[in-house]
C-alpha cells in the first residue's frame, strides 16, 4: 500500500480530494453555503490540471442534476455537491435520476431547508423517497473514504443507483481534522475505470427511460436491496487496502456488548455520542451506541437483530417530520422492529434542528432516558425535543433532566 499522507483539512477539502483521486470525468456545480469550498477546490484542481475533467459552472442546481445525469449517460464518472435549498431546487431531477440507472454520486453537506445556512438533515430526509442511496458520515475521514466507496457502489452492475454521501454542514464541512489521504495508485486499485452497462451513444440508440412502469420501479427496489451487500463489500474491500472500516458499512456498533439499551444516532452527533457512552459505561451504565450510516437502503436486518438484544432503543436524530410527531429515523426503526415477536420500547430525541448545537448534556439526557425506559419498561413520553426552552420546561415538570 502506498503512503497515506497525513494532512489537516476540512470536510469540504476532504470531499474534493476524494473526487480528485476517484478520477471523476465530468463535474457540474453551483455554489451554495456550506458546499462552496468543495466547488472552489475542484475548480482549482481543474484549473491546475490536477483533475482532468470539465468543470461545468452550471447556472443552478436543477440544471446541475440534469447535466450530470446526462453526462453519466454518455459513460462518464460524474460528481456534484449541493445541499439545503439547492438540493430542494434540484428535486425534480433528483427524483428521476435513478430511472435511467446511470450512476451518479453527490456529496451533501447537510443544510436545513428554510431560512438558515446551518445544519440539520431536513434537506436529505426530504429526498428519502427519491431512489438515491443515502449514506450519513460522521467526520471528514469518513466522508472522504465514503465518497470513494460511493462510486464503486453506484457503478456496480448489481446496483446502478445514484448515491448521496451526507456530512454535517459546518460541523464537518468547515472544521479541520487530521486525516489520512489515500494515495492515487491505491485508489486506482480499489476503484478502476467505470464499466458502463449501457450508454447513450449514436451507434446504439437506446430508450433509457420509461414512463414509470411499475415493473421498472420494482427493479429499482431490487437494486436497493442488492445495494446493502454491495455497500458491505465496498466497506470491507476498502478496509483491506486503507485500514479503515466503518462498522459493516450500513451501521456501526459501539460498546453494545451486554447493553440493556442502545442509542441510535447519525452523522456528527455520533462523535459526541461516543464520548458520552464511553463515560457512562465507565460509570457502570449498560448503554450501547449504534450509528445509522445507510439510511437508504435501510438496514432492516441490523435493526431486527438489535430488537432481539435490547429492551429499549433511543433514536437521536437531526430532523423532524412537521406533522407525524416524530423524526424520520424513528419511524423507520420502529417500523422495522414492529414485526419482531419481542419488541424493544422506542423513544425519539429530536435535536440539532436548524444548526443548533447537540451538546454532551443533550446526548446524556437521551442515553439516560433510554436506559430508564429499558429498566422500568414504561414509556412516559415517546418524543423529546432537545431544545433548551422545552427541556427547561420538562425539567420543571419532572424535576429530572
Amino acid at each position: 500500500m502506498g503512503e497515506q499522507k497525513v494532512d489537516f483539512i476540512t470536510g469540504n477539502e476532504a470531499v474534493a480530494y476524494a473526487v480528485k483521486v476517484a478520477r471523476v470525468q465530468v463535474i457540474a456545480a453551483y455554489p451554495i453555503t456550506p458546499q462552496s469550498p468543495v466547488t472552489e477546490k475542484l475548480s482549482e484542481y481543474v484549473a491546475n490540471g490536477e483533475l482532468k475533467a470539465p468543470f461545468i459552472e452550471i447556472e443552478g442546481e436543477h440544471s446541475c442534476i440534469a447535466a450530470i445525469g446526462s453526462a453519466s449517460g454518455t459513460g462518464c464518472r460524474v460528481f456534484t455537491a449541493t445541499c439545503g435549498p439547492g438540493l430542494a431546487y434540484g428535486h425534480e431531477n433528483v427524483q428521476r435520476t435513478h430511472i435511467s440507472r446511470f450512476p451518479v454520486v453527490i456529496a451533501v453537506p447537510n443544510r436545513a431547508l428554510g431560512t438558515t445556512i446551518f445544519c440539520d438533515h431536513s434537506d436529505t430526509m426530504a429526498e428519502a423517497t427519491s431512489g438515491w442511496i443515502q449514506l450519513y458520515t460522521e467526520n471528514s475521514q469518513e466522508v472522504l473514504d465514503t465518497v470513494i466507496q460511493a462510486f464503486k457502489v453506484a457503478e456496480d452492475h448489481r446496483v446502478l443507483m445514484p448515491v448521496m454521501v451526507c456530512y454535517d454542514g459546518y460541523v464537518t464541512s468547515h472544521t479541520g481534522e487530521t486525516i489520512r489521504l489515500p494515495a492515487q495508485e491505491d485508489v486506482d486499485k480499489f476503484l478502476p475505470q467505470r464499466k458502463p452497462l449501457y450508454i447513450t451513444d449514436p451507434s446504439q440508440p437506446l430508450v433509457t427511460e420509461t414512463m414509470n412502469i411499475p415493473v421498472a420501479e420494482w427493479e429499482h427496489e431490487q437494486a436497493m436491496r442488492n445495494a446493502k451487500a454491495v455497500i458491505r463489500e465496498a466497506n470491507e474491500a476498502y478496509a483491506k487496502i486503507f485500514g479503515r472500516i466503518y462498522g459493516n458499512g450500513l451501521t456501526e456498533r459501539f460498546m453494545c456488548e451486554g447493553s440493556e439499551a442502545v442509542l441510535v444516532t447519525m452523522s456528527s452527533m455520533m462523535g459526541t455520542a461516543r464520548e458520552v457512552v464511553a463515560e457512562m459505561r465507565k460509570q457502570g451504565h449498560k448503554i450501547g451506541l449504534m450509528k445509522l450510516k445507510s439510511f437508504r437502503p435501510f438496514p432492516t436486518e441490523d435493526f431486527r437483530q438489535l430488537a432481539r438484544e435490547v429492551k429499549a432503543v433511543g433514536v437521536l436524530e437531526r430532523n423532524e417530520t412537521h406533522g407525524s410527531g416524530c423524526g424520520e429515523a424513528f419511524k423507520e426503526i420502529r417500523s422495522t422492529m414492529y414485526g419482531e415477536s419481542v419488541r424493544p420500547k422506542t423513544i425519539d430525541f429530536i435535536a440539532g434542528l436548524g444548526g443548533s448545537d447537540v451538546r454532551i448534556q443533550d446526548v446524556r439526557f437521551a442515553c439516560e432516558k433510554t436506559l430508564e425506559v429499558a429498566r422500568t419498561g414504561r414509556v412516559e413520553k415517546e418524543v423529546y425535543w432537545l431544545v433548551p426552552e422545552l427541556m427547561a420546561a420538562e425539567k420543571e415538570r419532572t424535576g429530572a433532566g
Binding site: 452492475h157 446504439q204 430508450v207 427511460e209 442488492n226
Partner: protein
C-alpha cells in the same frame, strides 16, 4: 425501458427505439384516414416540393416520381396544396 431481458445482476436491459416500435401495435393509417393523396405522374415535374413539405416524411423519391407510403400517410393535404403544378389531388377514402 426493459426489454424483458435481464443481466445476471437483475438489471433490465434497455431496448432500442426500433425494438420499441416493433412492440407497438401499429394501426395502419388506412383505418382512419379521410383523404389520401393521388399523384398524377404525367403532370408531375419532380420539383420535390411535396417531398420537402410532407410533415410525416412519407413521400419518397423514385425515378418515376413521388411515391407515398399509405400505411403512414395521414392525409393532411399539405402536398396537394403546395404542388404548384396541381399534380396531386386529395381523394376521399372509400369505406
Amino acid at each position: 425501458m426493459s426489454s424483458g431481458k435481464k443481466t445476471p445482476q437483475g438489471v433490465g436491459v434497455p431496448v432500442t427505439e426500433k425494438q420499441v416500435a416493433a412492440t407497438k401495435k401499429r394501426i395502419s393509417a388506412w383505418a382512419w384516414r379521410v383523404f389520401k393523396p393521388v399523384f398524377d405522374q404525367s403532370t408531375c415535374k419532380m420539383c420535390w416540393a411535396c417531398y420537402d413539405y410532407c410533415p410525416e416524411g412519407v413521400i419518397s423519391k423514385s425515378d418515376s416520381g413521388p411515391v407515398v407510403d399509405l400505411e403512414t400517410c395521414k392525409g393532411c393535404g399539405v402536398c396537394a396544396t403546395e404542388c404548384r403544378f396541381k399534380a396531386i389531388k386529395m381523394e376521399r377514402e372509400e369505406r
